[in-house]
Amino acid sequence: MDFSQFNDAERNHLQRVMEQKQMKDFLKLYSGLVERCFTDCVNDFTSKALTSKEEGCVQKCADKFLKHSERVGQRFAEANAEMMK
């Protein structure tokens, strides 16, 4: 998106909108990650506490998802730049 078409007041407005959106996206990332790693890692309901295997799986699942999301971000930016040409 080309920001030069907007005046300063409009750019301030968009800046605030994007900050709110970043906060909302962060909360969505958080709740999505909890649900995804719970679904993929927790399957033993013979006790109330996470087993060490489950805890380890949750940590790796979260790390892997964040690395995945980061790499998609890089390819996404490149592909978008390509389209803008």
């Binding site: 909360l27 958080y30 709740s31 990650l33 909890v34 927790v42 109330k48 506490a49 940590q59 979260a62």
Partner: protein, 89 residues
């Protein structure tokens, strides 16, 4: 949560506070809905022999809610460490 609707008329509503409170309500209800759907997936077979919860399903639900909270906490800690941001966790 009891409310006293007496001399509200002459008081002002701080919209900033209201937005924060509404966001927190939204987060709590989103967490609840995700636990309901995840623990239904894990604890309730789709054969639906009867409408009541049997013993096994009830015990599974209790443990599932407890474990979900644990995962919620450990992922929250990881994200806070990484971003260093103060999160309304």
């Amino acid at each position: 949560m009891s409310f006293f609707m007496n001399n509200a008329a002459n008081q002002s509503v701080n919209m900033q506070n209201m937005a924060m409170a509404e966001q927190e309500l939204e987060m709590v209800s989103d967490l609840f809905n995700r636990i309901v759907s995840s623990c239904h997936q894990k604890c309730i077979p789709k054969t639906y022999i009867e409408g009541e919860l049997n013993k096994g399903e009830a015990v599974c639900i209790d443990r599932c809610v407890a474990k979900f909270f644990e995962v919620n906490k450990s992922v929250g800690t990881k994200l806070q460490q990484m971003s260093g941001a103060g999160l309304p966790m």
